[in-house]
Amino acid sequence: MTALDAPTLTFDCRADFADELIALARADERIVAVCNDSVGSSNLVAFREEFPDRLINVGIAEQDLVGVSAGLANAGYIPFVSAAAPFLTGRALEQIKADVAYSDRHVVLCGQSPGMAYGELGPTHHSIEDLSWMRAVPGLQIVVPADPAQTRSAVRWAAASGRPSYLRIPRFKVPAVTPPDAPFERGRAVRLVEGTDVTLIAVGTMVSRALEASDLLNEQGISARVVNMTFVEPLDVPEVLAAAEDTSAIVTAEEGLVSGGMGAAVARVVAESRPVPIRMLGVPTFAPTGSTSFLLDHFGLNAAGIVGAAREALGQG
C-alpha cells in the first residue's frame, strides 16, 4: 500500500499538468496558458505547438503576467498562469490580491517548481513562502496536488471552478499515492490510511513520506492515520476535527514555511475547537545550498522526521 512495499515509480507532475491542460484546451477554446519566459520550465512546448495563439508569453514580467491574465479573463478566457512559484507569488502578490482575488476573476495561478524544487538555486528560487502568502489572500482557493492523478484532477477542477485559485504543481518527483476511486472535491481531503493513535496530515511531496512514516510507526506499535489535505483553502475542517476526535495527536508536514502554512490552518481549527498536541513540520527559514532531497532530509522532512514528531506529540519522544 505504501512506498516501502516495492520500488516505486516517481513522477515530475509537470508532464501531467501539461497533458491535462492540452486535453482541456482541445475541449474548451476559452483555455489559454500565460507564461513569463517559462514555456520550457512549465513544460508547455507541446501546448504551444498545438495552440500557438493560445500560449501567451509576456516575457520576464510577473506583475504584467497576472494583470494581463485578469484582463484575458475579463475578455472571456480562462487563463492558466504558469510561472515559477516564487516569482509568481512573490513578485505579483498585489496583482493576485487586487486583480484576481478581490476582483473575483476566474484565473488559475499555477505555481511551478514550488517548495525547494530548485534546491541548489537557493532561497530566491525556493518557494517556501507561497502557501503562507496565498493563504493571506482572501478568496483564493489553494490546491496542493500530491501526485500525477491529483495534478490532473486539480487542473480539471480549477478550469471548471469559476473562481480564482492557486495550484502548487510538484516538480520534485513523487510516487502515485491517490487511490483510483478517491474523490477530488473542493475542500475535501483524502484519507489514505486509517489509524487510531496519531494523524499525519500532509500535502504535496510530503504525502508519500507520511505514508512511509505510517508504516514505520506501525512497526513500532503506533497506529497512524494518514490524510492528504489537498485543499489548503478551503480546508477540510471535518477531517481535521475527526483527527482531533479519533486520535491523540496530530503531525502536519509540508514543503514550506511553518509560519502560516497548511499546518497553521490545521492548528487553528484544532485550537479553536478541540485542543490536542500538534507537531508542525516544515521549513523553518531560508535553506542552505543543496539538492531538494538533501534539503528535505536536512530539515527532517522525511519519514524519520515525521516518526520522531509523532512520537514526541504522543509523549513518547
Binding site: 494583470g67 494581463v68 485578469a70 496583482q95 486583480d99
Partner: protein
Amino acid sequence: MTAVQTAPGPLELDEPAARIYVELSERLRKASPSEAAPELARISTRIRRDILTTIQAAGMGHVGGDLSVTDLMVTAIWGSLRLNPFQPDDPQRDRFVLSKGHCAAALYSTLASCGFFPQHRLTDFMGPLSPLNGHPNRVKVPGVETNTGPLGHGFPVATGCALGGKLRGEPWRTVVVLGDGEIQEGSNWEAAMTAAHYGLENLTAVVDRNQLQQGARTEETKGLEPLDQKWASFGWEVRVIDGHDHQAIKEAFGPSTTGRPVAVIANTIKGKGISFMEDRVEWHHKVPTDEQVRLALEELSR
C-alpha cells in the same frame, strides 16, 4: 458585538437614463469630433457637478484628479466607446478601465449618467456597506471592469482585455486612463512593452498629464519628461493633446493609424474648472467645505 447596519441595496439599472445613453452616445460616437464636442462639454459640466456634490456628501474623495480626468472620461464613455448599461457584461462591449482608481467619484458619476445605476445613489459614496467604495469594485458596481486603487494595475489588465479581443478577432476596443504620477510604477512599462509586442492597435492608453501627483509636481518628485519619447520608444503611436478640448480628445481616441497601440498624452489641469482648485497640489484629496462647493457649482453654471 456586530454592528447593526442596513446595507444600501445593490445598484440597479436606471432604465430611462440608460435609454438616453444608448441613443445619444451612438449619435455622439458617429458624429464628427467638432459636432460632438458641445454636447460632450455639456455632459462634462454635469459630471463635474456630480463629482463635487458626491464628495461633499461623503466628506472624502480625490477631487483634483476627478476634475482633471472628467473631459477624458466623458469623451471616452459618451463619445467614443460603446458600453451597455442594460447588460454590463455584454461580451461585445468596449472596455473602459480607470487605472487611476482613486478617481472613483468621477467614474461613478459617469456610470450613473449612463444609467448603470441611478444618480441619487451617488450619495452612498463611501457610506457604510455601500457598493460605492472609495475605489471601484467591479463585483458591486456594474460598468466597472476591474478593481483598481493601487496604482499601476489597470493598464496590465486593460492590455489583457485588448489582447483577448484581438485573439478572438472581435471588434470592441479598450481605453485605459492612467495618472501621470501613476506611470512611475514599473508595472506600466511592462504592459507598454507587452501591448506593443502584441500589436494591440485596439488599445488606447490615456495619460492624464496634470503635472501633479499626491505630494508635489511630477517633475519635482520623479521627472517623466520627455514623456512622448518614452512612449514612442516603447513602440506606441503617440498623440499629445489638450485634455480639456473635447474635439481634440475625440479625435485622439480614433483608431490607430500605424497598427500600434495608441498613447494619448492629455495635457490637463488638476482641479480643472474650479478656479481655486486648479493646479494646486493640496486639492489632490482635500475636501471642499459647503461654501466652497457652492462657489464651485456657481463657477460651473457660468
